[in-house]
Symmetry: C2
Subunit: 157 residues, 2 copies
DNA sequence: TTTCCTGCAAAAGCTTTGCAAGTAC
DNA sequence: GTACTTGCAAAGCTTTTGCAGGAAA
């Protein structure tokens, strides 16, 4: 994966101080390649390595990561629940499973999707709504009764 | 608009008892054709006609409406803050404005968008993620610096 | 040595719930 | 009459914040 020097460099590039807690949390978050943890899930995972870690620090850290572009915050979906955090910051679509999980669509597929939106429809959205479209967010809601099991490898992202 | 008999009938069809509060709240919600109110905004609007109305009732009512298919609760992946409620239950895309509002894309435009998703990409989403796609949810994030001002009429929805 | 981060606890914001009284059916 | 709804207050859940001590630059 990433050694500690690389993470320090990554943090520096994003204007973040390095701390033991941030290092740990970034590693945990980065290990969630397809699924996306909540703050509490991240805390539970990280506490095995740092029992003193506090939930407030997890939230503060995720806020700092999100601000600086190291992750993205995915707000509550369908069933109201806690926010989830996504280590992938590039534009990509999500799949929402019936059991409340959020999964990434592989980058390449997401790209093809975005490119498939006809230019003229986009133009009409901008014209009729009086806006400029910054980006498009898409979620595939999985049919209840199918259990998602991504067959993609992490590398595909 | 809709007279009281029609609303009673609508409620009955959806298995809901008619109450003064529900009547009022449905009217308020239905008057928000392009924008989507939060529970609190709805309360404020409705209190001019029923000062005794309570926030808990607004939430309970919106829950009942959502359950029975009379409105939809919007918990977008991108938005933060309180939930918003949408009287339009058909599938349609949304525009998220920089100031946190959520606006409907006209039905016809939404439909064209959905139809523009290539069949083969949808198939590959289902195959690679191991799901069946129930529906697709889309949001256009408006560029900060543009202020949305829909030029569509309510009738267009 | 200055500035930022952490952990704790407390507060804040949003939503749900228990209950007694009232209303729809 | 029965079952459901209302309004109130209180609790619940998620997230943020104030502060004192500690660590990074």
């Amino acid at each position: 994966m990433m050694d500690i020097g690389q993470v320090r460099e990554l943090f520096r590039r994003h204007g973040l101080r390095w701390t033991r807690q941030r290092e740990l949390l970034y590693a945990e978050l980065a290990s969630c390649v397809l699924d996306h943890p909540t703050a509490e899930e991240l805390l539970n995972a990280a506490r095995s390595k740092d029992p003193g870690l506090s939930l407030a620090t997890v939230y503060n850290t995720l806020e700092a990561f999100s601000e600086s572009g190291l992750c993205r915050r995915l707000s509550s979906v369908e069933a109201s629940g806690p926010c989830r955090f996504d280590v992938h910051t590039h534009d990509h679509a999500h799949v929402l499973t019936p059991d409340g999980r959020v999964m990434d669509l592989p980058r390449e597929l997401s790209q093809r999707l975005m490119e498939a939106i006809p230019r003229d429809i986009l133009d009409e959205v901008e014209r009729s709504m009086g806006i400029h479209v910054d980006r498009v967010s898409m979620q595939f809601i999985a049919h209840p009764g199918t259990h998602a099991s991504a067959r993609v490898e992490a590398a595909a992202l």
